[in-house]
Symmetry: C2
Subunit: 121 residues, 2 copies
Amino acid sequence: MDWQFDNERPIYTQLVEQIERAVVTGKYPPGERLPGVRELAADAGVNPNTMQRALAELEGTGLLFTQRTSGRFVTQDAEKIRALRVMLAQQMAGDFIRNMRALGCTPDEITQYIQRAKEEE
Amino acid sequence: MDWQFDNERPIYTQLVEQIERAVVTGKYPPGERLPGVRELAADAGVNPNTMQRALAELEGTGLLFTQRTSGRFVTQDAEKIRALRVMLAQQMAGDFIRNMRALGCTPDEITQYIQRAKEEE
DNA sequence: ACCATTGTATTAGATGCTTAGTACAATAAT
DNA sequence: ATTATTGTACTAAGCATCTAATACAATGGT
């Protein structure tokens, strides 16, 4: 997993996002066991405490669950995962539109910028 | 001006963004004088130091300039302002596409989410 | 000349994030 | 039974952000 951080926002927040992504894209399938906190932390290059904090949040939303001494697992509720993916995508699209509008962009202009950005990838 | 903040990122960063928006949307035309630091800070509900920090950054990019004791002004370079608006829009569109791709969205899927988000505003 | 207003600088304290280091509880594996 | 591995908890330190309060320098308006 290729972790990547900016220093605009707390690392634990970015960890949450990137683990969510790994789950909704199927990199960690439903029911699969995650590496341990220490291993994940070492892989991401962060402190175990910071990783722990991110994982605890993901447990709070029910995306992960813990079995006390055998490790952490992705929820087996595949529907929940699909729903999360849709929710995240809607959220991002909504935020994007609002932000573009705040710049004074018309719907057509937004479409043009999107088109351009797609071609550049 | 209706300031709005989340607590995900530093306030001074968000101040920079919102002032940039006010400029590129023409709310503060080229050459126009801004309210003083204290007034802006009071209006935004933040500490004058924090506002000062945001304004100093905007000066660093040349969007604003200071006349020692009469106040701060928007640059008179209208082309610079147009260029900034385009830059911000491209940046946002690029980030958006990358983030949607990271969620596993296809180009068509992205288009659908955009369409949906536009209709909901 | 005077003075209110401008931007700017400085110090101190509170809070949150991150790292480092250590320790403990529970259990699967041996 | 013992041991290694799991998640979890705690303290201390460093750092950035933000607020609060105060002070100073420069100048436009009177």
